[in-house]
């Protein structure tokens, strides 16, 4: 592994942590989705640095699954915002509790 690949792997690990951080800290559902996607793509980045057969197979498999994952998340967020008319997760919670 070259020096720059090692640096990129470190960056991927730090970005993975940052993605989880954004997911937990944010209130907006788009931001939560962004955090999940950031963690996913940075984990792919960290896997791709490790240039041996196992790492490459794993990264390609996860990259093939990625579009389905993104489309599902997109449709979910769009449906939620259109149903509750907000993207704030605490307001959605309040409305859902009120409906019960």
């Amino acid at each position: 592994m070259s020096v720059i690949a090692f640096k990129i792997m470190l960056l991927g690990l730090i970005l993975f942590c940052f993605g989880i951080f954004i997911t937990i800290l944010s209130k907006n559902i788009f931001k939560i989705f962004f955090g999940v996607l950031l963690a996913y793509s940075s984990s792919l980045l960290a896997l791709n640095c490790w240039k041996n057969p196992t790492g490459e197979i794993l990264s390609i498999t996860f990259a093939i699954i990625a579009p389905f994952f993104i489309m599902a998340g997109m449709f979910l967020t769009i449906k939620l915002t259109k149903k509750f008319n907000t993207s704030d997760i605490s307001e959605i919670e309040k409305i859902a509790k009120g409906e019960k």
Binding site: G19, I20, I24, S26, K27, N28, K31, N48, S87
Partner: protein, 162 residues
């Protein structure tokens, strides 16, 4: 050439961090969508440094353009501004804890690697190469099983709804 690659790496890393911070802090949708797209674009640029153009295309098309599609679908909500973009509950203290635990877990490995100035993955390679020959088949079978299970769940859910 190495200097240019290093410079590009630091620039792209800085861009990624700044744009993801913009996403976390911004109140209006105008800024956080742009920040999200910029973050995914800069991660795509890092793939070019790794000389893997296929992953670059996947990153740009699915991650960055996926968020672009969200912008098109939800263009009406752009004028709405959130009062408190960051969640300040006690539960959110879990996030720094998870971050610190993860960093503490990988810290000895990273410190060892940085101090020795050479990256050494021999022990991992020896562990994985025993399974590498059969890993192709296992991965294909796993994906097939996953697709079957998921589609089964969806059909059962659809059937129960009716």
């Amino acid at each position: 050439m190495e200097k240019i690659a290093n410079l590009a790496f630091y620039l792209l890393a800085f861009m990624t961090f700044i744009s993801s911070l913009v996403v976390l802090v911004s109140k209006s949708a105008r800024y956080y969508f742009l920040g999200a797209i910029a973050a995914f674009m800069s991660i795509g640029g890092i793939y070019l440094l790794l000389k893997s153009p296929v992953m670059f295309v996947i990153q740009i098309v699915f991650f960055a353009l996926g968020f672009g599609l969200l912008v098109i679908f939800l263009g009406n909500d752009f004028n709405v501004e959130m009062k408190n973009p960051i969640n300040k509950d006690i539960k959110t203290l879990i996030a720094p804890f998870i971050l610190s635990i993860f960093i503490l877990l990988i810290a000895p490995f990273l410190a060892n690697q940085i101090l020795s100035q050479k990256t050494n993955f021999d022990y991992l390679k020896n562990f994985f190469f025993e399974f590498a020959s059969s890993l192709d088949l296992v991965l294909i079978l796993l994906t097939i099983v996953l697709i079957i299970v998921l589609s089964g769940f969806y059909t059962i859910a659809f059937w129960r709804k009716k």
